[in-house]
Structures are given as C-alpha cells and as structure tokens.
Amino acid sequence: MSEGIGVFGIFFAAIFTSNILLTLYLGTCSFLAVSRQVKTAVGLGFAVIFVMTATSALNWLIYNFLLKPFDLDYLKYIVFIIVIAAFVQIVEMVIERVSETLYTALGIFLPLITVNCAILGVSLFMIIRNYTFSQSVSFGLGSGVGWMIAIIAMAGIREKLANARIPKGLEGAGITLIIAGIMAMAFMGFTGMMGLS
C-alpha cells in the first residue's frame, strides 16, 4: 500500500501532513517537559532525530531478517525497546563527551528518550505500513525533523509567554496544550498536499 509514495514523499509527509507530534500525538510527554527554552529544545531535537533514524533502520533490519523468518513477530515490542534503550545509552555518552553544558541542561531528560513514545511509535508504524528499508529510514528521519520543528516552535512561543499574564489554572501544562492545539490546526493546513496512509 505504500509502494506509490517515494522516499522524498514520505520524508516531507512525515514532517508536515502527518507530523508525529501534532497529528499522531507521539512524544507529547517530553514535548511538554523540555519545551521551556529554545536551546535545550534544539539539543533534544537533534538527539531525537539521531536516535529515531538509527533505530528505525536497525529495527527494520532486525524485524525483517530475524523476527519475520523465525515467526517471532510477537517479540517485536521487547526487541524494539532493547534496541532503543541501547541506542539512547550511546547518545548519552556522546553528548557527555562533546558538550558538558548540553549534558547538564538535558539532565534527566536524556534517559526519558527511551520512554519517548515517538521513537517506539516510528518503529511500530513502519512495520504496520510495510515500508521498505529506504522508506523506513526516510520516515524515521522525517518524523525526527518534524518533532524537532514542533518542539523548537513551541519553545520559542513559551519563551515569549514567560512575561504574559496567564489565568492561574492554565499556567504550565494547560497553556502549552492549547498552543499545541493551535499549532496542530496550523499544520492541518498542509493536509491534502500529500498523503500518508
């Protein structure tokens, strides 16, 4: 069913028409928690892109060459999550070496990438939609970029909001969710440009 869409089509569709955060709701937890500052949002965004692309490639290979031939389809959840957890560990070590400030800024949120539903979600969606290898990689990359665009936009808005007067009950999560809703509406404007089944 996905034969018709080219690699680039999937890439752009994953960013705009089926943005993983704003239309599929994946990765909302860390989206709400880490979107206070643009700088941290950029850092986490790159980490997510890297992990998402790499794990979708790895999981595709493992699923199609190991799990499928041996009829171990039901093990996919456990296998996928192990691959993701191992990868996050690597990213964490790299960031610790490269940038001390980024490491302290991201702090406890890095391990949270493991439980970022978006990463596991991308792997599960690519299985359900029967993507080929190149399609899966571009889907992972596109979803990561889409997630990063959304979180950076949100962080930019929230930095401005710091000075705004918000009703008491809406502070924090409430106002963030409303902004996310408006962003989702804006992204709905792309609907029809290209489709992902």
């Binding site: 959840y77 596991l120 599960l124 409430g174 408006i182």
Partner: protein, 203 residues
C-alpha cells in the same frame, strides 16, 4: 495498613492524579480518546499492565541490580503488554486494528515506568498492586471523561449510538488532533481551578 491503602488510592485518584497533576501518559490520553469504546479497552489494558508490572517489580526489587533496573523494568512491562496485545488480537480484532500501534505504546507510557520507579522499588508487593491499580484507575476516569465529550461533540454519538440528532452540527475538529489538545487543556484548567480554590490542597 488499611489506612495506608486508602491514602494511596485517594492520592492517585485526586491530588497526585497521573494525568492532570503529574502530566504523565499524555500521548495515549490524546490518541485513543476520539471513540469511547477504544478508550475503555485501552484503559483496561493499561490498568492490567500497571498493576501487574508493579507487583512483579516489587517482588523482584531485592534481586534487580540498581544499574540496570530501568532495563529490567522495561522488560517486565513489555512482557505484560505483549500479553494484552495477543488477547486483544484474539478476542477484539476490530478494536486491535483501530488502536494499531498504540497498544504497543503502553510500554512507553510514562505512568507505568513512573509508578514502578517511584513506588514499587521501595514497597511490598500487595501495596504496590494497590498503587498500580489506583494509578491506572485515576488515568482511566480522566480518559473516559475526555473521550465522552470528544465523541459526543465530534460525532454526536456515545458508545456508537447516536445521541444528538441531526440538528447537531458535528464539531469534526474534536475527533482530530487539535480537539484532543484543547479538550485536555480545558480539563486541566477546570481541575486546577477547583483545586486552587481549596487552599488545603495547594502543594
């Protein structure tokens, strides 16, 4: 003992509710609440996984090495999710297809991991079971309320039965992504407004 159980249950249903106070597990809150029936199935699955993985982690808490405890916890959760997935595929294939990847995504639902980390690692099995159960129920009723309104306003139905007649203009935005965000925001707003009025409960 009884007192402690009551206290934990009440806290998880109200003051420490995982969804609207701790803002955990939002992804599935938003994703499955456009139809009431899917929400119920999803919630039952989640209560099952939270309660049992809490018990398992609690039983094994002395054996699990601290360094790899996240991995072990995730494995335990994933095993229970596989059970849920297989049962759903066998008995409710339609719902299973509609929920799609969101059943598998119970694994990454922060509520379960959070309860296992924060509670089950330091407490006895039975009390952990109560804690998992009540967190799950605290999550469930929020989802049910949101799903009820989204389905009612978005499709004019409740549980698939038409409630609002043809005079009702369907708010199709409610079953789509933005509606989910708005609905949850409004819910949090109302709840926080009520809590803030009561100075006893402000943390």
């Amino acid at each position: 003992m009884n007192n402690k159980i009551n206290k934990i249950t009440l806290a998880n249903l109200g003051r420490d509710n995982p969804v609207f106070v701790q803002i955990l597990g939002i992804c599935s809150t938003l994703a499955v609440t456009n139809v009431l029936k899917n929400t119920v199935v999803m919630s039952i699955g989640l209560v099952f996984v939270t309660a049992l993985s809490n018990v398992t982690v609690s039983i094994l808490r002395k054996q699990i090495p601290t360094r790899i405890r996240m991995m072990v916890t995730t494995m335990i959760i994933a095993s229970y999710v596989i059970l849920v997935d297989i049962v759903l595929k066998a008995y409710l294939p339609d719902v299973s297809r509609q929920l799609g990847p969101y059943v598998g995504l119970i694994i990454t639902n922060c509520i379960i991991m959070g309860r296992a980390e924060a509670f089950a690692l330091n407490n006895k099995p039975f009390i952990s079971f109560v804690d998992g159960m009540s967190s799950g129920i605290g999550y469930t009723y929020v989802l049910l309320i949101i799903a009820f309104f989204r389905e009612l306003m978005g499709s004019g139905t409740v549980w698939g039965f038409t409630v609002l007649g043809s005079w009702w203009v369907k708010w199709s935005i409610m079953v789509m992504a933005p509606g989910a965000f708005f609905m949850l925001a409004v819910f949090i707003w109302i709840v926080k407004g009520v809590i803030i009025k009561d100075p006893e409960e402000v943390k």
